[in-house]
Symmetry: C2
Subunit: 112 residues, 2 copies
């Protein structure tokens, strides 16, 4: 899980790779169609694709002479889980601070 | 926004940095308390802390001789927004595929 999250967040830290995920959300695409909008050499683009594959976000299937890329959103769900968990802890703490402030305020009013 | 997401996802791609966020979710901590559980030299730990600060996830306040670290969860919310958006597009597409399959199934039954 730790290694998965490392690869996943690392894959998302680059705008080209996020753009590829955004494109694949709408449906599969060939490597050349995916590469077309990005102003870089094909070997550089292939490195980005490899990072996405390592993160488990993209898998490819060869159909004749064309390699088609598909999105696998499973790691997205795992990362959403981690972020939601952090947010819950953080919000619970803020709630506790609010309650403490309210209790102190009541106590102060009671003392007056 | 793009630059923010780059720094944010890059910050989360390392287990030490995720552990620091998990720790700070429960409340502020001094740099030395934060560094204590991690088996690395202090300058290395400080580099991790700098990456978290660059991502806007941690800010520090000096209290006397102690530097206290606080979590700022705002970038967490932005990243959750990006992930949720991707998931919505992806799920809408899966729904459309389901509906298409259902329509084809009905058509086949109707033809029989």
């Amino acid at each position: 899980m730790t290694l998965h999250l490392n690869h996943f967040f690392s894959a998302l830290s680059d705008p080209t790779r996020r753009a590829v995920i955004e494109r694949l959300s709408f449906g599969p695409a060939s490597v050349s169609d995916l590469a077309a909008p990005h102003p870089m050499a094909l070997p550089t683009f292939m490195k980005h694709l490899a990072a996405l594959q390592r993160a488990g976000l993209v898998h490819t299937v060869k159909k004749g002479r064309v390699r088609m890329c598909h999105l696998d959103a499973t790691p997205l769900l795992a990362a959403q889980g981690w972020l939601a968990w952090q947010r819950r802890i953080w919000e619970t703490r803020l709630d506790q601070i609010d309650q403490l402030a309210l209790a102190l305020e009541r106590e102060t009013l009671h003392d007056q």
